[in-house]
């Protein structure tokens, strides 16, 4: 590989026709704008506007893309699914990025109109997480628009050379802000920074922990109560449970909250949890199939009789909500674990 510029490899890869355009779309955005949707960085750090998080700190909270852009991603997905199911169907999602241009869809425009509506929904889990950390006596910093992108979708697309480049740059950036510890929340980002970066970064010495680990460690000494008695089920995100082995932590956290009764599927729990159908950008490549899988997973979880489905991944939340919508289920909520803990701390 010596002597060949990574840009040439990248250009060839994007032209290879073998990488699905759904993934090249995300990849392009990461490379050009350091986030999966290609919006401006200022737009992305908005969720933290009123939180007064220090911009420089040894321990930072890494927000990632998923939660911040969940409203936009929902729009993107409903468009993609609409196209995928339509008559023109079959090949289009693979050609999604190009097709979007042909249709004259102005995605960045649509995204920013969502953003300017000041939609509340997408920021909640992040705010909740920061509040929880603060309540536990941890005061993290946040790099806001300076936060680098972890680049995980590059890895998933097979664009390892670009991923490696990005990992080194992101690492250097974190270091340049004096970061020593990272508390991650988005499963993909956290896994990428903690386990994939070291493969490409010489002298890697960041300490990365996932929000769940931090909370599970501190939680036993706090009194937590959910405002009402509820049956709750937990959906394990693949990355957390099978890549980072966080099986017991979420259960310990939920178990520590008075008023919550945890009910789980017989088989498909913990390490055996079924993927929501949103693995690694899959939803952009196979929008319709991804929805079938979302419906399946939602059904498995509904069989427990739970009133709230708790999970801990922006992708899973989006998928499971979509699954419930397709099943026409009202009255069952999908919440992020951070929201549940934050609520239980308020009461």
């Amino acid at each position: 590989m010596v002597g060949i510029s990574t840009d040439i490899i990248y250009a060839a890869a994007m032209d290879s026709e073998l990488v699905p355009p759904g993934l090249t779309y995300l990849a392009d955005n990461i490379i050009s704008r350091q986030n999966i949707l290609g919006v401006t960085k200022e737009q992305s750090a908005r969720w933290a506007q009123n939180l007064d998080l220090p911009r420089q700190a040894e321990t930072i909270f890494f927000a990632g893309c998923g939660y911040q852009f969940s409203a936009q991603l929902e729009i993107l997905m409903s468009l993609a699914r609409g196209i995928d199911k339509s008559v023109i169907g079959a090949e289009l999602p693979m050609r999604f990025a190009r097709f979007q241009k042909k249709l004259g869809l102005n995605l960045p425009g649509i995204y920013s109109s969502v953003l300017s509506r000041g939609s509340e929904t997408e920021v909640k889990p992040l705010e909740a997480a920061v509040n929880v950390l603060r309540n536990l006596g941890i005061q993290p910093g946040y790099l806001a628009e300076e936060e680098p992108c972890c680049g995980a979708p590059l890895n998933h697309a097979g664009l390892q050379t670009k991923f490696a480049d990005n990992a080194r740059q992101a690492y250097d950036k974190l270091k340049s802000f004096g970061v020593k510890q990272v508390i991650g929340i988005v499963p993909y980002c956290t896994h990428a920074i903690s386990s994939l970066f070291p493969l490409y970064v010489d002298g890697y010495d960041l300490e990365v922990r996932h929000f769940l680990e931090v909370v599970a460690e501190k939680i036993p000494s706090y009194k937590l109560r959910f405002p009402r008695k509820v049956k709750v089920t937990y959906h394990d995100p693949c990355q957390l449970v099978r890549y980072m082995s966080l099986v017991e932590e979420p259960r310990r956290i939920l178990g520590a909250i008075e008023g919550i009764e945890l009910v789980e599927p017989d088989w498909t729990r913990g390490e055996w949890a079924t993927c929501c159908g949103g693995g690694g950008g899959f939803e952009t490549v196979f929008p319709e199939l991804s929805q079938v899988l979302a419906v399946n997973r939602a059904s498995e979880l509904l069989e427990t009789g739970a009133e709230i489905i708790v999970t801990h991944c922006p992708g899973c939340i989006m998928q499971l909500k979509d699954g419930l919508r397709e099943l026409k289920i009202d009255g069952v909520e999908v919440l992020d674990l951070s929201q549940v803990v934050a609520t239980a701390m308020e009461t």
């Binding site: 590989m1 490899i9 060839a12 890869a13 290879s16 073998l18 990488v19 699905p20 993934l23 079959a90 090949e91 693979m94 890895n155 998933h156 697309a157 097979g158 664009l159 390892q160 050379t161 693949c238 099978r242 890549y243 088989w267 390490e271 055996w272 949890a273 079924t274 993927c275 159908g277 693995g279 690694g280 899959f282 490549v285 196979f286 319709e288 199939l289 079938v292 899988l293 399946n296 997973r297």
Partner: protein, 407 residues
């Protein structure tokens, strides 16, 4: 890049399968019973879990010396008066088997994934032979003109009413659509019975082969393979080179782990075949072809396996025991069955498509269909890391297969 497939038709096929409610129902039932059977089998024989670890080590060692083991096995088989061959390519394997079989012959076949891989049945038919699949599932698939949808239960997607309709047609007698499954099984048994005894050639695969003695271990429940490899005068076995392990005791362990993770406490039959049938009962003169086959031929297929073994991250695909467990844990397989795959199914199928079959488009389709959710790895007795292989494969697809990807 030998063959190319097209993503558009692949995706259409996948989505049609995903909207097929009957398929979904059949699969969800199969998944349920498979999981509970495996659980029971492992609870009853808990040592299997440690044994699986041992088997992984056996396979790790064996894959690095497939060639040497194949030669050792061939020497042993020839000492037993059988004949052994190494086929470098699919074409070579087909040619060897076609030459041994000849033309206008009646051939009975046991289920062999490797046979499926090289298109053996179709090839022999083209050469003017009459070939019968004798595994019930394969038989149904053959007669339907369809392709297998699961490595252990090829006709997993076909409901009984469809089987009754099919049998009525081919057997020339009316079989009621609401017939008991037992009646369907009896009908197939009767139809195939005399084929076994009139066949000129019986063909099988093997689950594992002990190189030191050249012994094939063949695991089955139906008993069709015992008949197919026992009744005809010639037995031809086609075996992928990755199936070789050094010792008899290794082969036994591989077998036990295979059937246990394939959801059986114990299968009905395990045949150990090391040579042709012989007797010395008349004047101590060894004569071949007593009650079993007079001729015994074993073809070890390379067909890209030694190439695959050179990719550090992909070589683990060769440890696969074909227990089928991962398929039952795959959320995509659960709605599409073997439509998500090529010759081999689900995520691991992408590796076979890319390196063994060299069908790059197909490999890309499968590789980018995999969720990399990792539940298959959880199930796999060999702890094969399918997501790791998928990401590596995507890298090869996207950035090109450079020499530093190989050893």
């Amino acid at each position: 890049m030998k063959k190319t497939s097209n993503f558009k038709s692949y995706k259409k096929e996948i989505m049609e399968a995903a909207h097929d409610d009957r398929l979904r129902l059949a699969l969800s039932r199969a998944v349920k019973s498979f999981r509970s059977n495996v659980k029971n089998a492992l609870e009853k024989f808990p040592h299997t879990v440690d044994m699986a670890e041992e088997v992984r080590q056996i396979k790790e060692g064996a894959i690095t010396r497939m060639e040497e083991l194949a030669r050792q096995a061939i020497a042993a088989i020839e000492e037993n008066k059988g004949k052994g061959y190494i086929a470098r390519t699919v074409d070579e394997a087909l040619e060897i088997i076609a030459d041994l079989t000849g033309t206008k012959k009646l051939v009975v076949k046991g289920k062999t994934m490797t046979g499926e891989e090289i298109g053996l049945r179709e090839y022999l038919e083209e050469k003017g032979n009459e070939v019968y699949e004798t595994d019930l599932g394969e038989f149904i698939i053959q007669k339907m003109g369809s392709r297998p949808m699961h490595i252990l239960s090829p006709s997993i997607h076909v409901p009984r009413e469809d089987v009754a309709r099919l049998f009525s047609k081919i057997m020339g007698q009316e079989i009621a659509p609401d017939s008991d499954i037992a009646d369907l099984v009896a009908a197939a048994r009767e139809y195939l019975r005399d084929k076994f005894f009139h066949a000129d050639v019986g063909i099988s695969g093997a689950n594992v082969v002990a190189a030191e003695t050249g012994t094939l271990f063949i695991i089955e429940n139906e008993g069709n393979i015992r008949l197919a490899t026992g009744a005809p005068p010639v037995h031809i076995a086609l075996v992928g080179m990755e199936k070789l392990v050094p010792a008899l005791s290794d082969a036994y362990k591989v077998s036990e782990v295979t059937w246990r993770y394939a959801n059986y406490t114990i299968p009905s039959y395990v045949s150990l075949v090391s040579g042709p049938s012989k007797t010395g009962d008349i004047e101590k003169v060894i004569t071949y072809g007593a009650h079993g086959p007079r001729e015994f031929h074993v073809i070890f297929l390379d067909g890209g396996r030694t190439r695959l073994a050179r990719y550090p991250k992909l070589a683990q695909a060769l440890y696969c025991l074909r227990c089928g467990g991962c398929l039952y844990e795959c959320p995509i397989f659960a709605v599409t069955a073997g439509h998500f795959g090529d010759k081999y199914f689900a995520g691991i199928g992408a590796v076979w498509a890319a390196i063994i079959n060299e069908d790059i488009e197909k490999a890309a389709s499968i590789a980018y269909t995999c969720l990399t959710c990792g539940r298959c790895r959880q199930r796999c007795p060999m702890k094969i890391d399918v997501p790791e292989m998928i990401i590596e494969l995507r890298k090869l697809l996207a950035e090109g297969d450079s020499a530093d990807a190989r050893n």
